[in-house]
Symmetry: C2
Amino acid sequence: MEEKLTMSVVPDLEVLFELADLFKVFGDSTRLRVMYALFDGELSVTAIADSLGMEQSTISHQLRVLRQNKLVRVRREGKQIYYALDDEHVEKIIQMGLDHVLE
Amino acid sequence: MEEKLTMSVVPDLEVLFELADLFKVFGDSTRLRVMYALFDGELSVTAIADSLGMEQSTISHQLRVLRQNKLVRVRREGKQIYYALDDEHVEKIIQMGLDHVLE
DNA sequence: TGAATATATGAATATGTGTTCATTTGTCAA
DNA sequence: TTGACAAATGAACACATATTCATATATTCA
């Protein structure tokens, strides 16, 4: 019942802005592809770029967005930097969206 | 277990574009506010605009986006047009996002 | 130290998008 | 039919953003 309560109460405008910002992160196909790539485990930047057939710079820019929104975590190993999903909600949010799209 | 399967399979690029488009809809605070306003039931365009303190035109433009993405349904009654949420997933998607934002 | 590799970053550009203003369309009642 | 009200629409503008290119930073190894 607690959950119902948090739903019906309209959050502060500030929280709504944060919420919109979060969904903006999911609202880009490149970032979605990156997140999907990370479903199976951590990957280096080059590995992600290669698997998507996109430029390293493009991926790096988008990884920064994911980082800033605390959706991925980073780990350095030698020259490479490995990214991994860092939020239990990511898959759930994407799945909810898919449920709608595939209705 | 079926659900796990749909998660791990990367959707077609086309589906990913649709998915990104869906999240774009949630990525705007005005549209989020409109959806929140409709949590309690259907409202006319003017009622929504008044409750948010925004212009009728602005709300009308955003309602069109929600309509195009099949997130609201429409019903005419005299001069007024009533909008209501038309998807079971809307509240779930927003709740998942909130869980992350409020962590 | 210097070369090679991996990643990040900044500037520039093109494209997308939210709001406003003015206008149109649709409905009802006199 | 005319006037009043509700909603939708289109053009214009300002602003945000994704990608590319060039370059900087960081790390390893010879």
